[in-house]
Amino acid sequence: MRAANRSDLLMDQPLPHNEPGFREVRVSSTYRDAKLPEKDILKEVEQYGYDEDATFAIKLALEEAMTNAVKHGNRNDPSKCVIVRYAVDDHRVVICIRDQGTGFTPEAVPDPTEPDRLMLPSGRGIMLMKAYMDEVEYRHDGTEVYLVKRRK
């Protein structure tokens, strides 16, 4: 029953993320706290039987999005929080992560695979999210990222 309700919700709606069926977690801007939602989300992913590749992709995208929220969005300010809303069902996993920063322009982020950027130690997070997730969309001037992974 729970899965069917969530499935209807997720598949029929134009992807809002604050309605019933989505869980919300707020954490402070430290890497340790930013890790907390991951455990709950991956536990649900496992319960719904997503395969190893999908689980790796979701874990990686979550880590990259949370790192960006803590480091670039909230500038490692522990007084600021990161809000995570998520829902998992038989068809897909939806995660929205919002920070309290000033935002950014995703289109302006350079391609980290360009030869002259390969030797830079950072700048690969967005590229990895896009490579591993089915949908990656930035909203609210880049302060929120919306991630979807569909079951193959």
């Binding site: 930013a34 880590e63 390969l118 130690p121 950072s122 690969r124 990895l128």
Partner: protein
């Protein structure tokens, strides 16, 4: 023993080589320590620095950045650097980011040491 969410960093000297083995998961909360430990390894200026990933199950982009920073430091003092035995998922990440074109990758730490030892002599 590391679980999937922990990271152990082990170092071993093998002649001219320093092997740094990452065991577990190099996720965001571990990468500051990882980068510090890689910096420590580079400051020893071994002729050969090998990062053994054979027991690593996960790495985020902060970890990839640590590998790049270590590679650059070793290049700076004209040492040899290699990555050894990434699993399929981490190897795919290295390929997607095209870091496999920058960082030499070997099937094992022993192979890396043997190969780089020959080219050092």
């Amino acid at each position: 023993m590391s679980t999937a969410d922990e990271l152990d960093i082990l170092t071993e000297r093998r002649g001219p080589a320093l092997i740094v083995s990452l065991v577990g998961s190099a996720s965001m909360e571990h990468c500051e320590e990882l980068n510090e430990r890689l910096l420590d390894a580079c400051l020893q200026k071994p002729d050969i620095l090998v990062i053994d990933l054979s027991r690593l199950v996960f790495m985020c982009s902060l970890g990839l950045g640590g590998l790049v920073a270590a590679y650059l430091r070793v290049q700076k003092y004209r040492g040899k650097f290699a990555i050894a035995a990434p699993d399929a998922a981490i190897k795919e990440m290295l390929e997607l980011t095209r870091l496999h074109t920058l960082l030499p990758i070997f099937t094992s730490a022993s192979d890396a040491v043997a190969h780089l030892n020959r080219t050092t002599e």
